[in-house]
């Protein structure tokens, strides 16, 4: 008899080995899955779908599902224990936020530390026991600034053109304090040694209260991107005075300390072989390099990968077509939650385009064959010609950025050892299709989905004395793609499928 089993988490593609009888709650907790009712089995907020195998399932569990009007393909994570190998789908959470549970090497130390990833959309923080390296608490939240605009440029607009800088700073600091307080309270009131915060340049400036005006127009260079230290008092934290709070420095222009942390997480600055780190979010940050030299840039891909600006686009939540496959002549779609399709999310869009390129319904220029100008996926959901154009812009921008950075450093595609993909969306994509549409033109076995590299890097830096960060800062140069005269031609080439 096996006493350890594998829990397979889809669509993250993560595998976790755990002892028999492990509560599912413990496994999912560090992935940011929330348990709104505190694990009583009454809210259904932690529901997961069983795709293969099963977890413990008893009468009580069955009746809880019935009360919640959920069919028996669902399980409540808070009621489940691992009893065998199992594949679960956890993508259906409306509030699903990517935390991180990757193992990493560290030097054990006394006390506790907190890593904080301040994203434009979501905020996630983990409390770490510095002796064991174990994550002992997680908090996630939606960035309250989102009410003043979804992307960084609209935050800048609100801060600079509408005089909202102070409001945005207050909102984010309040939320920060609430989350830290909850983390600490749930852990029994420990006093953290340090808190490391990472985020993109706009989040850095808003959190630290630095003037965003230089980020509103060319040349987008800010003199205030350095590390910021705070005392707990300055941020309204009711914790021990000695806690050192640091927002890590940004790398330049629109490339922030979330990417700095990502570089740390990949080990790029120590690697002999060149590596690539790509964040498939709205800013589309890209890093290429090795221990000799590192280049970074933002490609401004736009939000197409997140399903925005797509006619029937939506986030990866219940009702979204999250993957499209073809067997023989039939096209199959997978819908998150196995419900009626309401729209399509980024991973589904990439799959759909890859599939229809294969069938010839879309040509390499991106044109939909025939007169209708649309492709039906289900009776409800279809793709439009403009959706494909949006994706071409986004993938063209990212692919061009990678190419320009790589070529500037003099590396051929074969020289690259690994491509690390970070960001929530990156965890859900089908790598073969990513290659097929020309987004990441590298063999699937070289591509590693790394999840939240910002949080992982922030966590790793809790154990560091700062030398590694200084080393990265010294080696890394920010490249402004907008001044590259060849961008337009490279971009056009990369828009083709």
């Amino acid at each position: 008899m096996k006493d350890h089993f594998t829990v397979h988490l889809e669509p993250l593609g993560k595998k976790v080995e755990v002892p028999e009888g492990t509560p599912l709650k413990d496994v999912l907790f560090s992935y940011g899955v929330e348990f709104p009712c505190g694990g009583k089995g009454i809210c259904g907020g932690c529901r997961v779908k069983v795709l293969k195998g099963d977890v413990s399932f008893d009468e009580r569990h069955r009746s809880l599902l019935e009360k919640l009007n959920l069919d028996f393909s669902w399980r409540l994570a808070c009621q489940s224990y691992v009893t065998g190998d199992v594949t679960l789908e956890i993508g259906q959470f409306d509030t699903f936020i990517l935390a991180d549970s990757s193992p990493f090497l560290f030097k054990p130390q006394e006390g506790y530390g907190i890593a904080f990833d301040l994203g434009t959309t979501t905020m996630v923080t983990q409390l770490v026991n510095l002796k064991t390296g174990k994550v002992i608490g997680v908090e996630t939240a939606v960035n309250p600034q989102a009410q003043h605009g979804a992307d960084v440029i609209s935050r800048i607009e609100y801060a600079v053109l509408q005089d909202g800088q102070a409001t945005l700073t207050r909102l984010v600091r309040e939320k920060f304090a609430t989350m830290i307080h909850r983390l600490i309270r749930k852990a029994g009131g420990i006093a953290p040694e340090k808190i490391v915060v990472v985020g993109n340049t706009v989040m850095h400036h808003l959190f630290c209260g630095r003037d965003l005006t230089p980020m509103a127009s060319y040349p987008f260079e800010t003199p205030e991107g350095g590390a910021c230290h705070f005392t707990p008092e300055e941020l309204g934290l009711k914790t021990d005075d000695h806690t050192d709070i640091e927002f890590l420095p940004v790398l330049g222009s629109f490339v922030g300390s979330d990417i700095l942390a990502g570089i740390l997480a990949t080990g790029m600055a120590e690697s002999k072989d060149p590596l690539i780190l790509v964040d498939l979010g709205t800013n589309g940050e890209i890093v290429v390099g090795n221990r000799d030299r590192i280049l970074c840039a933002s490609t401004a891909a736009g939000p197409a990968f997140e399903g925005t600006n797509i006619h029937m686009g939506m986030r990866a939540t219940t009702g979204a077509i999250s993957s499209v496959t073809r067997s023989e002549e039939a096209i199959r779609v997978h819908i998150i939650g196995n419900e009626k399709a309401r729209g399509i999310c980024g991973s589904g869009l990439i799959d759909a385009i890859a599939v229809f390129l294969e069938t010839g319904k879309i040509d390499i220029g991106g044109r939909i064959k025939g007169e209708s100008g649309r492709i039906d996926l289900t009776p409800e959901v279809f793709l439009t010609q403009k959706d494909i154009r949006e994706l071409q812009l986004a993938k063209g921008a990212v692919a061009s950025g990678i190419q320009i950075l790589r070529e500037t450093l003099g590396f051929a595609p074969e020289d690259i050892r690994n491509v690390y993909v970070s960001g929530a969306f990156g965890s859900f994509i089908n790598l073969e299709n990513t290659r097929r549409i020309g987004l990441l033109k590298y063999p699937a076995d070289k591509i590693i989905k790394m999840g939240n590299t910002a949080l992982l890097g922030a966590k790793m830096s809790l154990f560091e004395n700062g030398d590694k960060i200084r080393d990265i800062l010294q080696k890394t140069i920010h490249l402004s793609l907008e001044t590259n005269p060849d961008f337009q031609d490279i971009f056009a080439e990369n828009m083709i499928f």
Binding site: L161, S217, Y218, L393, Q488, A492, E493
Partner: protein
């Protein structure tokens, strides 16, 4: 005889610059816009005929495809390259005055912004429609527009912006242009813009795509 102009129209639309260019793959090894233009002129077509009946027509066709979503940025850029290859042969006649352009359009991406691909496409299309284009590049201030207007007082001004933080700069520039030269027509465009925004800032014309701009310009010539 008309055959060669039709051929030229097609290679411009399909973006075949010259015989050696590998794009598009199915026209490999065939004559491109460069060769066909030279040949047409040698055959005795006037530069004006070549321009109007082949080049402008080819660019118009690709513009239509673009508007309808049948073609996209790469195809449009290739067509523009083909047009440029043809224009090499026509340009000397502009200078000598034997071919007349419809007028002058000053184009620039607005101050604070370096997104120039959309602006370039519009500039190429306008040029392809038979206008002289003075391209001021990116990050263009009012002073630069003004200097160009002093040189070409009858020119139309076209501005582009891709950022919501820089499109607001169009307002100031438009106002100042109208102050020093009330008769100057100002066109605006770029992904975040709208007709509302255009009206709000006192600009004369907005179009979401280049085709709209060339049609508007042509209408101006006709009504003049």
């Amino acid at each position: 005889m008309v055959d060669i102009l039709e051929k030229l129209t097609i290679v411009v639309k399909r973006g075949k610059a010259d015989k050696n260019s590998p794009y598009p793959p199915d026209l490999k090894g065939q004559d491109g816009a460069d060769e066909l233009t030279a040949e047409a002129l040698k055959m005795g077509f006037t530069p004006d005929e070549v321009l109007q009946k082949a080049l402008v027509k080819g660019m118009h066709l690709i513009g239509e495809d673009f508007s309808a979503g049948r073609a996209f940025v790469p195809e449009m850029l290739m067509a523009a390259k083909a047009m440029k290859a043809a224009m090499k042969h026509i340009e000397p006649f502009f200078k000598s005055g034997s071919v007349k352009q419809k007028g002058t359009v000053i184009m620039g991406t607005v101050q604070g912004d370096l997104h120039d691909i959309g602006k370039n496409l519009v500039a190429m299309m306008i040029e392809g429609a038979g206008w002289k284009v003075v391209d001021l590049g990116s990050d263009t201030s009012f002073e630069k527009f003004l200097a160009a207007l002093e040189e070409y007082p009858d020119a139309i001004v076209g501005m582009s912006a891709l950022l919501t933080t820089t499109m607001v700069n169009m307002k100031g520039i438009t106002e100042k242009i109208k102050e020093v030269s009330p008769k100057t027509i100002v066109m605006v465009g770029g992904a975040p813009l709208s007709q509302d925004f255009c009206t709000q800032i006192g600009a004369d014309f907005y179009s979401p795509d280049p085709q709209g701009a060339t049609e508007y310009l042509d209408a101006l010539v006709k009504s003049a």
